[in-house]
């Protein structure tokens, strides 16, 4: 009993780290590949209240660590070029990198896919102590809803209070979205980003088409 519960010996870090992006030459399919959004975008109506775009094939890194671990906080700030947001339900963004607060010890970093491996290695080199960085790029995708009626679609889909007084630009909230789950972020005055699970992406896509039908849905490529 005591043998199986024995803690790992200190100093033995045994983590298999590999580049999960096969490179630009390899064919990659986003979770909504089958929906052929590019083709739909080509024959769209010109006007509508809701615009939908898949921000596909980005790098997603789940970061976990304690805010009390200075090496973790400093290392992340140094490697990502952005300090981790410690205020609940907030996000930070700089250039093509954004960081969402998920919980007091968890953050989601979204960055260009070709930087994910480099950043992951950088974090492992820079941080000491107990932390975790996992590349979850293949497990989820990012959808952007925008337009004057995007907020109405959210109101139908999730129990969050999305009034501007309660949901300022930059706020992040994990919630129930159409009985599935999503991490909702307000990225601009009229634009919102949803992080959805790969396995639910098709369902969410069907849901969003239905929910935005009355406002007019315009697909953007």
């Amino acid at each position: 009993m005591s043998e199986t519960l024995a803690p790992e010996k200190e100093g033995t870090v045994n983590v298999a780290v590999m580049n999960q992006v096969a490179g630009s030459g390899a064919r990659a399919e986003s979770p909504l590949h089958h929906a052929e959004l590019d083709k739909l975008a080509a024959r769209n109506p010109r006007t509508g209240g809701v615009m939908l775009r898949e921000l596909k094939l980005l790098g997603h890194l789940t970061l976990r660590g304690s805010q009390q671990n200075e090496s973790f906080m400093n290392g992340c700030a140094e490697v990502l070029g952005l300090a981790l947001p410690t205020q609940p339900l907030t996000s930070v963004e700089k250039g093509s990198v954004s960081i969402r607060w998920i919980s007091p010890d968890e953050w989601l970093v979204v960055l260009p896919a070709d930087q994910a491996y480099e950043v992951e290695q950088g974090l492992r080199a820079a941080i000491e102590g107990h932390f975790s960085v996992v590349n979850v790029s293949g497990g989820q995708t990012l959808l952007e809803l925008s337009g004057p009626n995007a907020r109405d679609v959210l109101k139908k889909s999730c129990p969050l209070d999305v009034h501007p007084s309660q949901f300022p630009v930059g706020k992040v909230a994990g919630t129930v979205f159409a009985k599935s789950t999503a991490v909702v972020r307000r990225s601009g005055e009229e634009s919102w980003e949803l992080v959805v699970r790969r396995s639910f992406a098709d369902y969410i896509w069907l849901w969003l088409q239905d929910a935005s039908r009355e406002y007019g849905l315009v697909i953007k490529s």
Binding site: P88, L89, I102, S103, P104, E106, P159, L160, A173, G174, T175, V176, T181
Partner: protein, 95 residues
């Protein structure tokens, strides 16, 4: 629907974002081997079912995915307080 304050997200959210995980403050016996069958059985299976103040664990399953404690009145369903794991309740049943 309950409107529940998450102490980690620091705002109220709808009940459907949470799961209830049953009675709080159940201490696992330090030495299970020396428990009698009665003690071990009560630890595993026997739960309070009070009329009034009840301390229970809730889980913010679709939000921050953290556990926390809630003191709830089982008669009125009113949530008296919310506190983090490891803390002790301020509102307790009389007697």
């Amino acid at each position: 629907m309950l409107h529940i304050y998450c102490p980690h997200c620091r705002e109220h959210r709808e009940e459907e974002e949470f799961h209830v995980k049953g009675q709080a403050h159940i201490a696992r016996p330090l030495d299970p081997e020396s428990c009698t069958d009665k003690e071990w059985g009560e630890y595993l299976f026997f739960r309070k079912n009070p009329r009034g103040i009840h301390h229970e664990i809730w889980y913010h399953s679709t939000g921050c995915r953290k556990f926390f404690n809630v003191t709830r009145d089982t008669v009125s369903y009113e949530i008296k307080e919310v506190y983090k794991i490891g803390e002790q309740p301020q509102v307790v049943a009389k007697g």
